[in-house]
């Protein structure tokens, strides 16, 4: 009898504690860097967007499977009889943190701000001609031409309160050159699930659940956001119990954390592929011993390089199993991906050597490979592995490793013969890859086409994708373009990155394909 009583009491205490825990749950969340700014239209950067998604909201959102979901807009469709207009029906009863009502005017204001000159989001709204409020809860976006995929572009365009913004002179996005900061860099007023309670840049930000939010109350009621730059310190902070959740987990620590009692790891594919780019064109390479021609311009050489590449070895040894080898520079979530395109050849050194000889380089050639060393997961190690693999067929690679801040200008300014780069596809559509990596380099396209690949026929098809409204025809065109890109080996894809979030036992946070986890999706056991 007494035993039962003790058990009962214990159970009762335990259950009340659980209730207490569910009522007020604080998550201390550490990742490598802080949001750059709180001004939602000033930077187009994942870490900044992730933070902003907790305070501000977008019309549409991406869930952890990569699908579009309603958020501030409940419906969206192309206007009847006018394929150049997108209509968004807005959610009713939404409030800003300061109590103001959310209306169509706020959307118009925010979209105009997001596509203004000082905004880093303007590229995503390049096809927009005008944004108008039809009534309090309907917004129409007039496009320059038919833009069937525009809703994909707005999942990081946050809505600000028009009156609040005007009150604090925030009509324009902050202008760096003018040397002035603006109010929105440190202050917020969104409709999002959390309210900013305090912010100390690079140190700590505290968010608390917004009582007036339209959705169900989240399980996490308070977020303490802690940027910790050093990877070892970040993992140690989790192990010591100083934080509950760690993003940007180094791959060498994943197994260890998985095997430690009290912690768990969630992994999932990221919408980001890692690839090698190289120089096209007749002009000799800058870094090669072959001075009268460009070996890479010969398709046999590109085929030989792919056959020398052992993607599975890179996965197993360099990435410790945490990557998804791929034969196409396009992650599986993205429209246009097929299993067939994703297939890649098994390494075949004999055939590779034969191809090199056939191409006229029986003794191989030398080339410099530029790689970043602080941007992607094990970026430098992947390049080092490739050096060895190409060495086996006689291609002598010199590795030049740099921080990404020095590396990306080389690619953008076409100064590299051979380089590693990673690419995410925020629109979840192949056109995004084609525009920047495949299209001939111009003022507006091919920004990261550092190898200067140029195929006018493809260029035409790529441009046509932008205004094609017949989705079947459009997808057929995408398939055709991929066919050429793969056959031509425009890029040499290695793998898609895998994301890992480490957390204490008892909580679950699904991995988000864009690495933008929402703490509203955290559940407790």
């Amino acid at each position: 009898m007494q035993k039962t009583l003790v058990r009962l009491t214990a159970a009762l205490i335990a259950s009340t504690m659980l209730v207490g825990a569910a009522n007020a749950e604080t998550i201390r969340w550490a990742r490598a860097s802080d949001a750059l700014t709180l001004d939602p239209h000033s930077q187009n950067q994942g870490v900044t967007h992730t933070f902003a998604h907790h305070i501000y909201e977008t019309l549409l959102d991406r869930d952890s499977d990569g699908n579009l979901q309603p958020r501030l807009a409940t419906e969206w469709f192309v206007k009847d009889g006018d394929p150049t207009v997108w209509v968004f029906k807005l959610r009713e009863g939404v409030k800003f943190h300061n109590g103001a009502d959310f209306t169509a005017e706020d959307v118009v204001f925010s979209f105009n701000r997001a596509r203004s000159d000082g905004s880093n989001l303007k590229q995503l709204h390049a096809e927009v001609a005008d944004v108008t409020a039809i009534d309090d809860h309907t917004v129409e976006v007039q496009m320059i031409g038919p833009s069937p995929l525009y809703p994909n572009n707005i999942t990081n365009t946050f809505v600000m309160d028009k009156d609040w913004s005007e009150e604090h002179k925030l009509q324009d996005v902050q202008d760096f050159a003018a040397g002035e900061s603006n109010y929105a860099v440190l202050n917020t007023n969104g409709t999002g699930p959390y309210v900013l309670k305090s912010r100390e840049v690079d140190v700590q930000s505290v968010l608390t659940a917004f009582e007036g939010h339209w959705a169900d109350a989240p399980a996490v009621t308070e977020i303490v956001y802690l940027p910790i730059t050093d990877a070892a310190t970040r993992v140690a902070a989790l192990l010591s119990g100083d934080v509950d959740l760690v993003q940007d987990v180094p791959v060498q620590d994943i197994e260890r954390l998985r095997n430690s009692a009290g912690f768990k790891i969630e992994t999932g594919p990221e919408n980001r592929f890692i690839y090698f780019g190289y120089r096209f064109g007749e002009e000799p390479l800058k870094s090669s011993n072959i001075t009268d021609s460009n070996p890479i311009n010969n398709s046999l050489v590109r085929e030989a390089m792919e056959l020398a590449l052992d993607r599975d070895a890179i996965k197993q040894i360099v990435m410790r199993g945490n990557s998804i080898p791929t034969g196409i520079p396009n992650p599986p979530f993205v429209n246009g991906w097929t299993a067939e395109l994703d297939a890649y050849p098994a390494p075949d050194l004999e055939k590779a050597k034969a191809l090199l000889a056939e191409a006229g380089y029986p003794d191989g050639f030398s080339i410099t490979l530029d790689t970043p060393n602080n941007r992607y997961v094990n970026d430098e190690a992947i390049s080092t592995a490739l050096v060895g693999m190409l060495g086996q067929i006689g291609v002598k690679v010199t590795l030049a490793s740099r921080p990404v801040a020095e590396h990306s200008p080389l690619v953008i300014n076409n100064q590299s013969d051979f380089y590693l780069l990673g690419w995410g596809v925020p629109t979840f559509d192949s056109a995004y890859v084609f525009n920047d990596l495949v299209h001939t380099k111009t003022d507006k396209h091919g920004t990261y086409n550092g190898g200067l690949y140029s195929n006018p026929e493809l260029d035409e098809k790529i441009i046509a994708l932008g205004t094609e409204t017949d989705l079947d025809a459009r997808n057929a065109s995408i398939a055709e373009i991929w066919e050429v890109v793969k056959a031509d080996r425009v890029l040499l894809p290695i793998h898609n990155q895998v994301l890992s979030y480490a957390m204490r036992d008892g909580m679950t946070l699904p991995v988000h394909p864009e690495d933008q986890p929402r703490l509203t999706t955290v559940t407790f056991e």
Partner: protein, 326 residues
Amino acid sequence: MLAFVVRRLLQSVIVMLVVAFIAFLVFRYVGDPVTSMLGQDSTIADHEALRERLGLNQPFYIQFYHFVTNALQGQFGISYRLQQPVGKLIMERLPATIELALASATIALVGGVILGIYTALRPRAFSSGVIMTASLIGVSLPTFLIGIGLIYVFAVELKVLPSFGRGTVTDLGWWRTGLLTESGLRSLILPAITLSLFQLTLIMRLVRAEMLEVLRTDYIRFARARGLSTRAINFGHALRNTMVPVITITGLQLGSVIAFAIITETVFQWPGVGSLFVNSVQVVDVPVMAAYLVFVALVFVVINLFVDILYFIVDPRLRDGVRSGK
């Protein structure tokens, strides 16, 4: 005296200009801020437009001229990364660095002097040998290893001290201090020890060598002969004469502690100017990097200036040299 100070001041200004110039020159090769600022959705046209707006297309000497004239008015521009005035960012971060530097300098000074005296007075003792060997190991391990090791032992395994950060801070209005709260003090322990180890070894070895030297001198022997107590000889005579060079070194080293707390601050995520600098380098935040380097140069120049003036006052031979034009 006045002429000397004026001349030293003039030299300091030249040093500052040279540092600023070198800093500026170096920053042309650390990467392109525009790429990190615009992200992957940008076009070449956007890059050009931003470059133009930031004045990065102007010739080097014009940019340098603008930097110097603005710096003279206390304007270091806006951080590209955080979009806030650089001067404000540095001033916000400075208290954390200064508290860390002072704490570690105190540990280094107290620990170094005590251990130095101990090993000098018992040069042949086994314990002295252990201390000397341990100090050699301590000084040859890289700072980040020591830091990570301390974190592992005291935060992860023993769970007695926090693994990162500054704990709870109290805002005094003009100074944000972590010294007034328990969590703040606990957070200070590991980084302060990490940062102090090198200086501690240095001071310890200096004290030991000086003390051994002094103990061999005639006046100590005469003191012994006069029958003074060992205690009075060691602490009243020997130590006092040992401390002069130690104080000089400590003063000079304080500057380098402030300037080179970078690694310790990174390992412990200590929110000081050092970690601000590291974060800025990653994205080529030129205004912050330039301002930080100038700030560090200023710390060194000011400390050196003070030391020189102090020497001038203390040592009459210098004054004679000035007068005779040597």
